[in-house]
Subunit: 366 residues, 2 copies
Amino acid sequence: VSKDKGGARRFATVPVALGDRSYPIHIGSGLLGWLGGEIARHTKATRAAVVTVPAVGRRYAGRLLPSLREAGLETGQIAVRDGDSHKNLREAARLYDALLDFRADRATVVVALGGGTVGDLAGFAAATFLRGLPFVQIPTTLLAMVDASVGGKVGVNLPRGKNLVGAFYQPRLVGIDIDTLASLPVRERAAGLAEVIKAGLLWDAAFFEQLEGNAENVLRLKPEVLLPTIERACAIKAEIVAEDERESGRRMLLNLGHTLAHAIESLSRYRGILHGEAVAIGMLFAARRSEALGLCPPGVAGRVERLLGRLGLPTDLPPYPRRAYLSALRVDKKRRDARIQFVALRAVGRAETVPLTPAEILPAGE
Amino acid sequence: VSKDKGGARRFATVPVALGDRSYPIHIGSGLLGWLGGEIARHTKATRAAVVTVPAVGRRYAGRLLPSLREAGLETGQIAVRDGDSHKNLREAARLYDALLDFRADRATVVVALGGGTVGDLAGFAAATFLRGLPFVQIPTTLLAMVDASVGGKVGVNLPRGKNLVGAFYQPRLVGIDIDTLASLPVRERAAGLAEVIKAGLLWDAAFFEQLEGNAENVLRLKPEVLLPTIERACAIKAEIVAEDERESGRRMLLNLGHTLAHAIESLSRYRGILHGEAVAIGMLFAARRSEALGLCPPGVAGRVERLLGRLGLPTDLPPYPRRAYLSALRVDKKRRDARIQFVALRAVGRAETVPLTPAEILPAGE
């Protein structure tokens, strides 16, 4: 671990322990210009197809590509369309086509450079092209750094629902260059922080308390807090995923706030609200419901609300009718009262799943 | 192992040893009406989506579905279009849609009932829908029984090439009901036998000799030879795949005859020739080349030629110009002399890969 003059750490590595699919997450400043050699070493690839959206490519490909070439890799850059509405099978087919143009073979590493959407789409293509190419993720948004880069979930949307097609496909390496956050709008930084707060809230009370102490400084990208915060958020997710790679048990806890978030996103047709903002609302809702159900002591929801509010994150349910929420919560349309594994809080730093019907999650009059 | 009055075995199980992805291949007569309980036991599923083409569904779904329902599974039948030309992303999207209509969840098993095309397509959908549903294969062609049912290769074609998109995704169970072969045209039985012969030729001299003794009886579906032949062919492939699931080494030997076969299929635009027929031609070609290169003793190619000929399988390269073959063999269009891992024979029952250029595989004047 190197430190700069001010004593702040400049580099950290979080191991994700998944047996023969284990991989490291490198976090640091100036990483884009250094990752080429690491990618070559971890993948043994001879060529790298860097998949990115135009705006991110213009900004950062010029740092990454020379580093790959210096490491002896032949490079190509593939642009995909920006936005979740293009994370679909059609865009995947275009990406396959571009990989064929690049003459990608099994010694070609697919490098996703961008936010979660690019990572999901490029990761799905990597998982399926020629039955699987080596894959590296370089997330450039805070949300993708702390969420999408751990756990290997890749995939695309179908017209009838988000992320319905995909795979669990682990990258060989994740490289997080915190410098890329400088170009990220504050609103998106805050939305990413919502997932960081979620990690503390469900797993690590001390980390949640730290965030209560320094959240604004993370938002302002103060180096002395930014790197350790990303590191701890990744480590929490890595710890949970290592126990339950395919989401059959404990990994479900990571869905804290997401039951309501998905309903909100669906009702708003994914417009006007960022995923992290919907998670903020859902997380506070889960804390309030947990208190109301007597699952956790009073006061937890208040702490969550104050922290989210300080970051300018939304906290109130958008005013759709209750019946609209209930309908959005019903995953099994045939059985209206089917129970959902709702993630509730027992305390700050401790969550558990509780099977609740939509009407129990959202009782009349709340 | 049960035997009928004539002493012929009625049932066999071949284990495919892949660690926590291990699965059994059950082979027998009358299996369709018995598999439901096995599928329930191996998958813990509560619902089964049986994917098939209309012709196969009409013939066999009526045996399989009641058995699934007796085992407590809710069943649905999904028809996909027949033929390799429909093994593509568009048909996969239609299949996802049908799975949504069936309200498939992670407790839904996808059962592929049909030939290799249905298995590849349904397997790809199973591998990717909701990031992976349990999958069961019930192959109804000889080729699919001995080839596609072992090894977990699933996938679809792209307009620019076959099987370019897919996954290694192991079924939980394979059920081979040899009764379904009765409706298979003799030409397709012979094409399937080409892959059986290939297995003996590359791995098991004694098995090859047995086939020299009884191939016509296998073609006529004589029960006393049919079941042990399918069993041994599956066991050989299972043995090789268990050593090398992701085809980085020894599994490449299974490509014996396939370098030329793919060129022939591509040049004929996949019309007028069955895959097994192209493999027959390619396998004999490989035997002759191996003799000419001094890699195996004279006489091997003659034995291969006689055995294939007795089954009415084609043995001569279709008369496309040499330059057309060379072009079809060049996988790397940029480097004309790039070497291909050509599977050569050292003897009956023993193969090895030899790196050869297209011009060395197909020298002028041959």
